[in-house]
Symmetry: C2
């Protein structure tokens, strides 16, 4: 029998307001009746319970409202966001730190989420630097895990190795892959191609027990050449945001051109279900949450533009992270190891 | 009256063989009769003249075949490619070095092209490091110039500044933009967001005479937020290759899903012209060539998968680079300037 998983949901984060966050929570609970998950919904209590009350048949849903008076704005600078000790995010993280919940899910300001997540929970034993983990679609049936997508600006080789370990464990337990393949994002497939950091990381990775397939290039991400893509947070963040912009780009172009012609309009009508699927393929909402791997806790950062589905998926990932004890696996692999030695050997 | 522009075309490069390269050259000359361009087509002479002979009405076209016995393979390592002194690429570059032509166009091995271009022609006065310049589509009517997309692995701030200068001049004279806007690719819009190199480059750029708009993020490339995107060759190369892979990704997905359903097939038929345009928008062939800016000469590296149109466009860009004296403008701006001083002031 599984024990209860307790999740604090920052209900004031996200571009679309608390209605959408709560609807996502509602959808999750409706589809997972009796699986032992309890949600602590954090934010302006009166507002939130009012919204919740507007949903149908909520009696018996395992939720509890927790009041937090402040809100971190989506565009608020990190330094200012960190100072709000009574924000819904800060309250949720404090609950996690104190052991009152097992995980925090937020669709709030990514930078503040990341910084206060690391600051309040600290790092997992053995981890030098936490990483944000993004998910990209691929031409294969499975998606690919990319990390770091923005928790760090520079990543020394030892950190890239740790990202590889964390990504592999995540892909194993959350994406249920057996010995996931790991690629190092670089500018050529040969071992000698890359910057200082990737050249060193290559040497560590090829000697590691990971299923390392070598360098991959930018065009190998969407083909699904490997299950885990390791990169520094600078290149990773740029590629994540570029990837997210493809959806808007394609559909703006499509709208403009299709609307100009009757045949095109008819075609678009017939193709609508397919076009929608195509659009969703680049939609971050599909994957729901980017876990902040390497912190001493389970923090899922959902995209600011998250819809109900994204929130629902973020909760689902949080629950799996707790059930599968992903953090224990990471610490088990990294704690007590002197990584620098691996390079010299 | 314009003087003759002489271009050496490496006809043995490219994934699709010399037929496509020659057809591109033929198409260019057919559409630009009497504009004073002469093409030197370099490679296995018998083979090339045989292909040329199969085209219609070629009499009077200003071409000359130049024999070169070796070929640099598309996947050949740079070190080995550089050793082939009688390759079509090496012969073309030698002609340029000796002043027999004004420009070299090649769809060959990018790495070898870049390395031997720099090695044989040297750097333009005032330029620390040449950069490969890529072109991306945007939601606006104009495309965006991105550099460096792979000539360098690490780029100190002074080099990023020089990329900005070269990109601005290219956008002014080739894309005919008045005071093109320059954005620095980073992981946040604020001045304090970025890695060591971008933070310093920001300080140089904001004091420069360029039309600098600050940091941009990965999602700002396709929206056309600026005309020139400055980045190091590592992130630039990854984003270029990722961008190129979108076309294959989208149309593989589309083919798979559309073929499964009669309504979708009908829709796809009606939408065909639009879908083709959409596909082309991410097609590197549309832009034809990536100039290697900063070398003492005009070298246009066309994408390995170039079709006739790409070759034709690459020749067009080469001709404009020569006519507009882009290199003189770059040297005029960068030669004799102590860039490091700009940082300290």
């Amino acid at each position: 029998l599984k024990t209860t998983v307790r999740i604090a949901l920052d209900a004031m984060g996200g571009d679309k307001g608390p209605e959408v966050v709560l609807k996502g929570a509602y959808d999750y609970l409706r589809d997972h009746v009796g699986n032992g998950v309890k949600l602590y919904i954090v934010g302006k209590k009166d507002l939130l319970s009012g919204i919740w009350g507007s949903f149908k048949k909520t009696a018996g849903y395992p939720i509890e409202f927790v009041h937090a008076g402040e809100i971190v704005g989506m565009d608020e600078p990190i330094s200012r966001g960190l100072k709000k000790k009574d924000s819904s995010l800060a309250v949720a993280l404090r609950m996690h730190k104190l052991g009152d919940v097992d995980s925090v899910v937020s669709a709030g300001n990514t930078g503040v989420c990341m910084a206060s997540g690391v600051r309040s929970l600290g790092r997992l034993e053995g981890v030098s630097r936490p990483a944000i983990t993004g998910t990209f679609p691929t031409l294969k049936e499975k998606s690919v895990v990319v990390l770091d997508v923005g928790a760090n600006v520079d990543s020394p080789p030892q950190n890239l190795y740790q990202f590889a370990v964390m990504g592999s464990i995540y892909a194993s337990y959350i994406n249920r892959l057996n010995r996931p393949t790991v690629g190092l994002l670089s500018i050529g497939e040969e071992k000698v191609k890359g910057n200082e950091s990737t050249l060193q990381a290559y040497k560590i990775l090829e000697k590691s027990s990971l299923n390392f397939i070598g360098n991959i290039e930018g065009n190998d991400i969407l083909t699904g050449k490997c299950d885990v893509v390791v990169t520094d947070g600078f290149a990773g963040n740029i590629i994540l945001k570029f990837g997210e912009s493809i959806k808007t780009y394609l559909f703006t172009k499509m709208r403009r051109q299709v609307s100009s012609n009757l045949f095109s309009r008819a075609g678009a009508y017939l193709l609508a279900p397919f076009l929608k699927r195509l659009k969703n393929t680049f939609d971050p909402a599909k994957y729901g949450g980017a876990p902040l791997l390497g912190v001493n806790g389970v923090v899922i950062i959902s995209h600011g533009s998250s819809n109900e589905l994204a929130i629902k998926n973020a909760i689902r990932v949080a629950v799996r992270m707790v059930h599968e004890k992903v953090n224990e696996h990471i610490s088990g692999k990294l704690a007590g190891h002197n990584i620098v030695e691996n390079v010299k050997s």
